[in-house]
Amino acid sequence: MRHWNLPLILGIFLCSVLLIMVLFPSVLAPGDPHERRVLWTNPDTGQKELAPHPPSRHFTLGTDNVGRDMYTRLVWGARFTLGMGLAIAAGRFLIALVIGTIAGWWGGALEWLVRQTAIVMSGLPLLLLSYVFLVGMKMLHPDTPDRPLLFIWILVFLGWPRLTEQVRLLVKNCRVLAHVESARAAGATETRIVSRHVLPIVSPQLITLVPMEMAFALIVVGQLGVLGMHAAAPYTVMAADGTAVTVHRLPEWCQMLGFTRHCLGKFPWLPLVPASALAASVLGLNMLAEGVRRRLMSRMGRGVGVG
């Protein structure tokens, strides 16, 4: 009987939907995410209604409290939120790959440092630390410039030790492999062994770590959003003529969730829509990682691949 790799199928499906949302938002949602309809005439009844409008034929997922279409905002917000998750994961990976490989292969003081940092950081909830940081970094204040960049920097800075420790262990386990020994016997330099014989071996495991790390980052970003810390705040800027201009809020999922969590009783779709979107993307990324891992394991079971 054939085994279906359900996680892989589900993961690929969800991730491809997310990818379309990120790359071609105008295809899925041609409307304007900033268009407000506070007072809106319902064509069905002919009566004027006050926002938020519930999900209906006209608004697939309802509107928010100033009458902006939730579905359109959801699709346009994917670019921002998922981009941030990807940037955080990529930043952590860059650090982890460099430091983790050096620490795992050459060892020494750096290895000790990486291990101890990982142990100490494992005892500190990431959410708490990033919250402390963001509070201090004036994130509560609306006109802080470069909020998304600040967000990414802080989450990269606080999240790298765990990933580095994982990479270090993967690389360290390769030291005893037969082909590495034979490469050394053949006179290859250490750098060449690492780049040609070790990193290709661990790359499948590293690849499965990428979506998992992104999901992890998205969860923390979402939790921070719930606590009121989000990269996309409304902010006021000074125009050239000296007048204050309010810049539209970027449609961002975490901000949509953080602002509407009080509305759960009366307008449940307001927090439920962004929360489900975040949950679906986290689920999709986790399932993708799990599916790829299963596939790699079954391939290894057939004797293809090492490690």
């Binding site: 500190l124 708490l128 630390l129 969860i219 939790q223 927090p271 929360a275």
Partner: protein, 339 residues
């Protein structure tokens, strides 16, 4: 090095032929010595965690004083009189105060220590309820999934655990809360309160949502470990002796996998402690996490380090307990635990 008491007493009997009461006393002393030796072998492991905790405390304090944005918070709350010096001065002042047991004051003038002492017990209650629920339910879930014969039901049960792991905690809470409210709206029956409180009924929603993620983790870890005992000799023997499959899993396999499960528990607890803040905030449960988020604007940054100490201390205590539990459950781990 472990010397077993049984051998010593046997030697005593064979060589000296001691009378029974003396022998019993000797056995008792030997047992005591044995136990204390066991405990002593755990000292390095505990000391290591204590050092890590102290390092974590210093790291938290250092991190809390890096940002220089507190002056703005000060003007928001209208409290003046806070003069912030250079970074190192602030940090050393805070750390020396910490050594004398002084956690500082909040913006509204109350003692941080008092505020924490007021809110921490309710948080501990929630955490304990969630962890007990998660452990019991997770293990039971894994046993049922493992003991079920049908491949379909087993993969469905384990699949639901994997699904729960993959969902963010805030989504689970928002979903459950809206479900409760929807039922209330349509039928007028409030199944459980949608917000948390320190009553038994009010504890249900926060504890269940906080425990859902660790329960799924534990279920998965235990199920994977049980899978490995599937073809073990002792399982075959137990089934050959006439035990049912469920009995064999409950009485033979579970004890064997318990130390493996305990080894991975600290990371699960870490996730739970992280989730505590979100669960408390979303269900407005009157604990430390809620106090932290609600109070940051008017209590000031001084409340942050002690709360972080509390959470990280809790993590290291649970970690140490897991090490002791492993040593107690599995003789093979006793010497490894010292490492």
């Amino acid at each position: 090095m472990i010397i077993y008491t049984k051998n010593v007493t046997e030697v005593a009997v064979s060589v000296f032929g001691l009378p029974t009461p003396v022998l019993k006393l000797k056995g008792g002393i030997d047992l005591l010595a044995h136990c204390s030796r066991q405990l002593l072998s755990l000292v390095p492991a505990i000391a290591k965690r204590a050092v890590a905790f102290v390092a974590a405390c210093i790291a938290i304090s250092a991190i809390c004083f890096i940002p220089r944005g507190y002056a703005r918070l000060e003007t928001w709350t209208g409290v003046t009189g806070f003069q912030w010096g250079p970074y190192w001065e602030e940090l050393s002042l805070y750390l020396s105060g910490l050594l004398q047991g002084d956690l500082g004051v909040t913006f509204i003038g109350t003692n941080v220590a008092d505020e924490i002492a007021r809110t921490a017990p309710t948080s501990f209650l929630l955490l304990a309820a969630a962890l007990v629920w998660a452990t019991v339910f997770g293990v039971l879930f894994a046993v049922i999934a493992h003991a079920s014969r049908h491949r379909f039901s087993r993969s469905a049960l384990l699949g639901s655990a994997v699904l729960t792991i993959s969902l963010p905690d805030f989504f689970v809470i928002v979903l459950l809360q809206s479900a409760i409210l929807m039922i209330l709206r349509s039928t007028g029956v409030l199944i459980i309160p949608a917000l948390g409180s320190v009553t038994l009924r009010g504890l249900i929603l926060p504890a269940v949502t906080l425990g859902a993620l660790p329960a799924a983790y534990i279920a998965r870890i235990v199920a994977v470990a049980l899978e490995e005992t599937e073809h073990a000799d002792f399982m075959r023997t137990a089934i050959a002796k006439g035990r049912s499959r469920l009995e064999a899993v409950l009485f033979h396999a579970l004890r064997n996998v318990s130390s493996t499960a305990l080894a991975s528990l600290p990371s699960v607890y870490g996730i739970t402690i992280s989730g505590l803040i979100i669960v408390e905030y979303l269900t407005t449960y009157p604990g430390v996490g809620n106090f932290m988020v609600m109070g940051i604007t008017y209590h000031g940054p001084n409340i942050m380090p002690p709360i972080a100490f509390l959470f990280s201390g809790l993590y290291f205590v649970l970690d140490t307990l897991a090490v002791i539990g492993r040593a107690w459950l599995d003789p093979r781990q006793r010497e490894e635990a010292a490492l």
